[in-house]
Symmetry: C2
Subunit: 881 residues, 2 copies
Amino acid sequence: MAEKYIYGFMKSKSEMPDVDKPKYILGGKGFSLVGMVELGLPVPPGFVISIGMCEYFYNNGKKYPEIFEKELKEYISLLEGETGKKFGDPKNPLLLSVRSGAAVSMPGMMDTVLNLGLNEETLNGLIDKSGNPRFAWDSYRRFIQMFGNVVMGIEHEKFEGTLEEVKQENAVEADIDLDVDALKEVVKRYLNLYETELGEKFPTDPMDQLKKGIDAVFGSWNNPRAISYRKINKISSEISGTAVNVQTMVFGNMGDNSGTGVAFTRNPSTGEKEYYGEYLMNAQGEDVVAGIRTPKHLNDLEKEMPEIYQQIKEIFTVLENHYKDMIDLEFTIEEGQLYMLQNRVGKRTGKAAVKIAVDMVGEKMINKNEAIMRVDPNSLDQLLHPMVDPKADKEIIATGLPASPGAVSGQVVFTADDAVSWKEQGKDVILVRTETSPEDIEGMNSAQGILTARGGMTSHAAVVARGMGKCCVAGCSEIAINEESKTMHVGKDVDLEEGDWITLDGSTGDVFKGKVQTVDPELSEDFETLMAWADDVRTLKVRTNADTPADAKIAREFGAEGIGLTRTEHMFFQEERIFAVREMILSDTKEQRVKALSKIEKMQQDDFEGIFEEMDGLPVTVRLLDPPLHEFLPHEDEDIRSIAKEMGVEYEELKKRKEALAEFNPMLGFRGCRLGMVYPEITEMQVKAIINAAVEVTKKGVKAIPEIEIPVTSHVRELEILRDVTVKTADEILKAAGEIGKKVSYTVGTMIELPRACVTADEFAQHADFFSFGTNDLTQTTFGYSRDDAGRFIVKYIELGVYENDPFQVLDQCGVGEMMKMAVTKGRSAKKSLEIGICGEHGGEPESVKFCHRIGLNYVSCSPYRVPIARLAAAQAALEK
Amino acid sequence: MAEKYIYGFMKSKSEMPDVDKPKYILGGKGFSLVGMVELGLPVPPGFVISIGMCEYFYNNGKKYPEIFEKELKEYISLLEGETGKKFGDPKNPLLLSVRSGAAVSMPGMMDTVLNLGLNEETLNGLIDKSGNPRFAWDSYRRFIQMFGNVVMGIEHEKFEGTLEEVKQENAVEADIDLDVDALKEVVKRYLNLYETELGEKFPTDPMDQLKKGIDAVFGSWNNPRAISYRKINKISSEISGTAVNVQTMVFGNMGDNSGTGVAFTRNPSTGEKEYYGEYLMNAQGEDVVAGIRTPKHLNDLEKEMPEIYQQIKEIFTVLENHYKDMIDLEFTIEEGQLYMLQNRVGKRTGKAAVKIAVDMVGEKMINKNEAIMRVDPNSLDQLLHPMVDPKADKEIIATGLPASPGAVSGQVVFTADDAVSWKEQGKDVILVRTETSPEDIEGMNSAQGILTARGGMTSHAAVVARGMGKCCVAGCSEIAINEESKTMHVGKDVDLEEGDWITLDGSTGDVFKGKVQTVDPELSEDFETLMAWADDVRTLKVRTNADTPADAKIAREFGAEGIGLTRTEHMFFQEERIFAVREMILSDTKEQRVKALSKIEKMQQDDFEGIFEEMDGLPVTVRLLDPPLHEFLPHEDEDIRSIAKEMGVEYEELKKRKEALAEFNPMLGFRGCRLGMVYPEITEMQVKAIINAAVEVTKKGVKAIPEIEIPVTSHVRELEILRDVTVKTADEILKAAGEIGKKVSYTVGTMIELPRACVTADEFAQHADFFSFGTNDLTQTTFGYSRDDAGRFIVKYIELGVYENDPFQVLDQCGVGEMMKMAVTKGRSAKKSLEIGICGEHGGEPESVKFCHRIGLNYVSCSPYRVPIARLAAAQAALEK
């Protein structure tokens, strides 16, 4: 079979393959170039050597088919015909660029060689043609450098070192200050360097240059960086190689009627339908990027070169109509002639993405489902929180992890108590801590935002702040806090003290000095429209994690369809409550414990009533006490003394009891259902509070749907035993409540957050009405990572390319995901109707949400501010099916 | 189909079902009774109501088939015919016992009702017959109590309370002191109690009593205790019910020509072929057990009742020939007439088990494979360690967990340093600690034994002690240590101080005051014979966990076929080494670290040379550094100061660096391969030490087979990257070693000890020469338990019947085992030849060893002293197939 290996993109021969996915033959870049020629747009002519050739190359010991060289020459001569130039002609040389281009964008492969075809002879032609010897010599030295480095593998530093020498000898600072003679010297030394390094002369034959260039592009497909990139990004084996794009050079720096620019068919920042772009006359693409000269706004081109402007406008329309999307393009004007060098779908802000998608449906360019697919769910995050005003003056003093989005300003305080008291005085504060602990909760709640020096994206500060919808920058290692003197040291030379103003951007992790202007989010009509379309197509339900009526309210406004996780322990940290909780923990006898529990019960019931009222008619999953008891323990001696007094025991005895509760690995210790197994009275108290709350609100006509959830189960007997305790306690209350009791129905289920629960999920399903994956803990135990300690090496692992994302942020589908799949399959094999959700942090992360859809979960649950993100991701997952 | 429900065991009708497994029809007890009748032995006649009837009962709403009552009456009249007594006859009443009996022994079901058939009238018959009114009245009151409690469910305490009242009223202490009148009073009150509790009169009709008794036995099959017992013990549904055994009562307390006894066909303690047993004249079984009177040795019966003695001897022969095993039996002599009440395979010590099994092969009673199956592998433990002399005078002052077997005496010391210095003075010491940490290693090594107040069977003390083959009692909560005053408080009233002698029994957990005589183990010829037979049949290899040449030597003598785990970190705790290790950990730069590592390298190499020499020709798996770095950190300020001085850094700085290394959950923190990923120089150092050691010993003609093992992997890229580091380092050394280098071959593999490694084992297999399951860590992460913290609730869980055994001791086959199976299947799917072993603590536990055989592992690895146990378990597993 005579396979075709070369595809032209020139007027005389434009060859779009007649297949479903031409990108898999031409690569992304080649596809856009052939596409533009097909659309009749002005493109410097060239051709694509197909991905098929790359496959052939690797399947045949890095050799080409015999016919290849002949074909290559044919296409070169077609190029020569079309441009009137000749490859290697000293008078009017055809110069080429050679680039790689796989079907998906793939950094790690060879990038670009420009000016291919230059040698001592053709250089003269370029000098004549441009009338600019400096330009020509500079082009030549760049070509030698690019070819030597990119194609032949000589270290970049060696060329830079040589260049530096000549600059020093000529006493100039910038490359641009080198004159023609100096550049000639550079070229001479580069050619020597090339010979010394490789033991052969620099190839002067353009065809030889081209063939080496093609070899290098194909070779780069399997260099270690590219292999590792594909592995990490799970680029499927369907993507089997790269294409090579060979294209005629055009120059925007040939004089005042030349130029170069970039443009967007709509405003990528706002989404408005307006032309948007920048250009520079007599310049190359690099100059626009380097920022040495200030580019002009595209509108100015209307006056400067009205015909070209008109032409670009028409091209905008052609491209948008063709690709049905906002397009970003690069163009070059060579001596009054416009050329398109590249186009691709344009990057945009979340706001712009929503507006463009909805507008295009209005313009009938795309349908609603396409609109849903057009918006990156993560980009919605920007829309839902205040942002630092992009126009404001500001000074970044440090950068940490973007732990919880939003932008806030406040006065620095260093303790939770100060946060509370300053707030009471009406001040806005930022709580700055080395790291937070559960004792800081009230302070965190009082603060506008939280800044920590230690801890990752799933540290205590980060998780709690996201739960509260509060701005947080975590793990900002540049700050050093002195809690005693109430000062902090930032980076090298900024010192701040209590009361100084700072501003946090929790979406970027930036910390600014002083009070920086922020802009509030506006939830546009477009946003509401898009979300309504998303809701129409998705099948995965979206719930929220909420511990207070206030959170529940926000989440419901954002479209939450219930609560997937209420952490009862988060209610425990208010002062009056923590006292009773500590009393409970430090009890030595069941009697002491029951007495303390009865104090807590009423408080919990009040909370649940508030939540049930907000969630009227929607399910509310309440997780029973989860964390290790000693998390609640007092640290201060005076606290221990006052509890001892209340309980009527000796201070020394209580202190000993407290110390005995310390654990080596609390995450794997006495927590979750293990508490209820040893102290069933704790479970009884919590169930009473939940069911009594349900009864109370039912009296007011509210529909409460409590789902009681047993955490940290690893053995089915734990579920069986605590389910019995729960049902017995609940049914007694409901029976006693008579007619009202009959209106309340509740379910009992379990968290699936330990590997053993996954592997025995069929047993669990027989005793559970629902499963809810706790993927934070499941990630911890599946990997054997403590989320509080793993920061140190996870950062290094991402650097080393072990994985692309922190598995606490983006669900590890291969490992943790396999566990989940197993649990779903086994669970449903035992109980077909089993309701299954997820309430870990991953429930608001789009890729993880899609995974949940694919493995058949019923719902995801996430923090209130991520509910819209999850809704959109769920819709996309449904459409991707 | 007319199913048969009742099977007689009497002379006139002895009905052994003609099926493969009559036990599944008759239950265990019924089977032994019918069997004895078939063998012509004297058995009080009776009948078995089959397990089939139990099934019918449950399948038909707790009703019996119509024919049942008729059949029952037929068998009663057969009994009457055989005994000449009549059921309910006031003159010569037939009295019966009713017992449950499933196919496997099942505590949790109904036990026994004796004297059924008694009422006010038949009582007179018993009085006449026995001539002993007190005996008859006491029998009657016991019957009411048993029937009321066991059959009708009245609380035991209520009967005991009533009895207590009467005793007080009569001013007597013991039951035995109640006279006939008092007993009549008891009967009266019992009958009242019965009526009050149940609202009905005590049944006087014997047939009514019998039917209620049968109902109760069948009912007890499904009482919660029994269900839970079956669930925990995974008693298959094949065992579908219990049988009911109805048997004529005989009495050993009818006078001086009556009696009762127990006997063994061989000595259950030594295994010698000699008659062994005890009896009491004019007594009931309870009297022998209660120990109020001292029983006589069976040999005395030869003089006392020579005919009976002769009869028993003959019965011994009949039973041994029939059952081909040592049998334990209960007999009663009623008025000169011998009756067999029960027989079963006799319990025996490990020593006896080995001797009996080997002797019986010599006697051609059984074959070698049967001999292998006859010995409980765990029982070998007693043979391999010194034991407390059973004859010695001794006072138990406390009991902890039997953490590492053996028996030792020594003087109490409270710190590792004291242990070392006392040992140097030639003293034998017991190291007593609240709990041990890695810093205590040298002290543990110097001590005869270790006693800890906290920590479970897999605590640091327990694990290290077992590795060292050193006696240890752990988690002995009755002791309270005051380290400052160097004293300890034991239980309520024993106080010990430094230098006092104590004795530990690590096989039972007992702690004795003073120096108690111990007896040394002798490895008999029989033991060697049995082990040789075992080795012939087993396919699973047995290796050892050993960190020193001394351990390796012992293990090899016990038959280890290689080392499955060398923990390099255990070598780090000697004083000179720990200093260098600390320097390494506290290094801030790679240079500092490399300098410190080079100090450690030579020491490690020496260790490895010693181990390779001992293991000449056998594989040695060396695990790279595993524990969290901060385990090695100095706690004392003076240590920090001297390290700071050595490193030339400030004390304050070093102290801060140390504090920064602390972790919340070290078990899930910066450890294992994560250390090598961040600091590859650590891996390089260790590989150098291993390979250089191999090269050195090869020069001496030793065959070293190093297997380098990467621990705590959860992602295949960790294995890939560290394998590369290992191979690069090793190959350089071997290349430099020339011809010697060519003789050394090594392999690289990984621990499988995290759930993610199991779930992605197919990926791991592509880069591993071998897998070794680390089931300690795998149990921790699969359950989400920290072995150091779980003691608190695991004890409670075992109490609650969640599981029968601590999963750190006996492999959790359903959960952790499923993970392992998955890893084996996935691993071998990617690499068929993959070698797989286990080196967790479970590798020496028989049930776990058998599981490893079943899932296709190549070897298990265990502490030296458990190697013979594993060999025998492996042989049994092969035979069980």
